[in-house]
Amino acid sequence: MDSARVVITGLGAVTPLGLTVNETWAGLCAGKVGIETITAFDPVGFDCKLAGQVPDYKIRDYLPKNLRKAVKLMSRDIELSIVAAGEALADAGLVTKGIDPENVSVDPERMAINLGAGLISCDLVELAPAVAASLTDGKFDIHRWGKEGIEQITPLWLLKYLPNMLACHVGIIHDIQGPSNTITCAEAAAHLAIAEAAQIIARRASDIALAGGAEAKVNPIVMIRQCLLKRVTSQNNDDPASACRPFDADAKGSVFGEAAGVVILENLENAEKRGAKIYAEVVGIGQSNNINPAYEHLEPDGHGLQIAIEKAIADAQIKPEDLDLVIPHGTGISCDDMAEAAAIAAALGEAAADIAVWPTKSMLSNTGAACGAVDIVAAVCAMKEGKIPAAVNCSRKADGCSLNIASESRDTRIRYALSCSYTYGGQTAAVVLKNSKC
């Protein structure tokens, strides 16, 4: 059987810039920075006291009445994915059981879900009373934990922290019964989840897929890990708006945050048949590996990322000069940004000088397993609106970075856009989108 063409028909995003795609896009266009001093906990003693935090929301407002009691089983990562998934499905004009059980417009067995998720870290405050009940002479005593501490842990505790629970909760709410997967490749997870979902639709295993990623990194243990790995900036705590500086000469490290991004991927024939609005087509996917003994960083020449970008462009059957926009991973960690710049420059060749490169983490922060999906949403918005917003906090490009960083906002037709990511541990990913209006 012929493979299907895969299009994007719905978008959802909850980010430090807002609870909807529109708010996020408006913020990105305005150059607004969603990074602030951490309020989720008191960051005293942390090298970096900043994060990208999502505005307040009430998760109950996003749940069907009969599922509201499930909130006690939801870590924040799960909540964020639910908010973005609901927006994306509604934007696509799809009616699921969770949206309106009387008027369901989809076949649950023909829907897939594929989300990127992070290492969900437990809530230390929730564990602390159990730890406190397990002390002998003021020291943690595993014998007491096994008898007394453990009794204080809520019976379903583990289920809050399994990474696949994002997809499971969203799948239960919206009755998604087809293939379900959870990609756990950290900062490359969402791109890889979208890639896999697109391939599932292309091979006709599903007609519609909800794909993306979510992660809530504003958690003390997640933040302390990034501090220990020296991936955070520790020098801009009093100036959050200028803290995260991808590709900039003054970059001092990344700033982490929380978000969810979801796209609805659909078989083109299915989308046309139901008269859906079609934003873009997923035309190219590339994946590879960094190989670096210092595996917390990208290898210095970015070779593994270069391969992914080259494969995605080849897969799309285009030339580098057909790209009008690149959204890079761009974390603000100098050595990684320089390696990424080298990878992009090598993959794009001479065309690199002309293609606008627009990093988003200066505004959105580094949201881990969500970031690739949020960047795909941003790329679709840029295509849809014919606009590349200005990069923020890259006023003086780092020496050796030859990329054409979008220094000013401009209105322009975007034929093809590429978004890429990589992660500690090696996985790299690139996705090429084609504007459906071109």
Partner: protein, 439 residues
Amino acid sequence: MLNKNTNEQVVITGMGIVCPVGHDVESLWQALLAGKSGAAKTTIFDASTFPTTFGAEVKDYHLAEHTANPQLHEYSNRGSGFVIGATAQACQQAAIDIETDQPADGIDRTRLGIYLGAGEGSVDNDVFFDAITEAWDAESHEMDWGKWAKVALGRMHPMRELEQEPNMPAAHIAMLTGARGPTRSCLTACAASTQAVGEATMLIRKGDADVIIAGGAHSMIHPLGVTGFNRLTALSTRNDSPETASRPFTASRDGFVLGEGAAILILESLTSAKKRGAEILAEVIGYGSSSDAFRVTDMHEDGRGAAQAINAALADAGISYKDVDYINTHGTSTAENDSIETKAIKAVFKAEAKNIPVSSVKSVLGHLIGAAGAAELITCVLAMRDSVVPPTMNLHDPDPQLDLDYVPNEPRKMPVNIAMNESFGFGGQNNVVIIKKWQ
């Protein structure tokens, strides 16, 4: 391009395992046929006061026996450490060169991928609990984050923290093999490595890779892991008899036995395997995936999702349920799984259901969680090779409600041409892979 599809046949050309009953495929197989359990009193940490005091641990495993560069993998968590041994064995069998800058195995490194169903590593227990102890004020019910950060920054090791990330086993395989092809890691609970093998098969069929190192790695035998499962009452508490505790399909089953390990299969396009002259162990012919969309706590009561995944795998393989010779079940020894899995098999296999041998090697191996499916697929390949089906051990008091042929207690000599492996995970994740004997 995205819609490229080569319809390549996908074959298995190498296997490797590190598991509770041994550190190589033949040890696994001998233990399964002899019914020699891997379960014993927990030694990784002091579990003596936990509701469950035993598990199926990997014993006497030494990384340096499997890699020439143990220092490169010095901070690996248990799962990553195990996956190095399993990968090294599988690559040796498939004639894939490892730990060299100049591989001469005929495989383009940009077409050598990795797909794992891999779990997170344990927290660094001592400092994790000490930091909370130090910082918690029981009176005000508040954490002093400054105190907590001081302990954490002073005592946590950056690489040991990084190694808790679930994508780390894949990182170690990349370093070991130089793989630059498509690489993904998934974590769909107990169904993860079956899903990894299934999706990897799709990547090869699509033409994105020639060879993929696929499988799983996981260890949850640590205080918080056992705490979580004990609170869910998912684990057997038969502390006086660890070796008989995993007893799938019996009336007295009381939960699964937590195991750990890594299992790797080398998946390869038939074209590549032939070109390289690799020995073909079996063919992967079908993959199906579904979700229950029911409850995060329970499987769908009719086995709806499980049956859907089985049907999808049969359809993908282009075969009838009547063609299946053997089913390697998920068979966890929990009340729920064994009963619903039996229902799902009956729903798909109808009158044939009772005629198909279905067994659970978890009765011997324990439950390797993320790595379980890949380990069980290896046993399916071995069953084909030797024309013998491994038994469900400890099946002395069959559950009267469960009436399939579970191959109780003794291996059974019989030809196996087509075998199906089922894996189901918390949250309603269902994955099924079908393999066929190569001839």
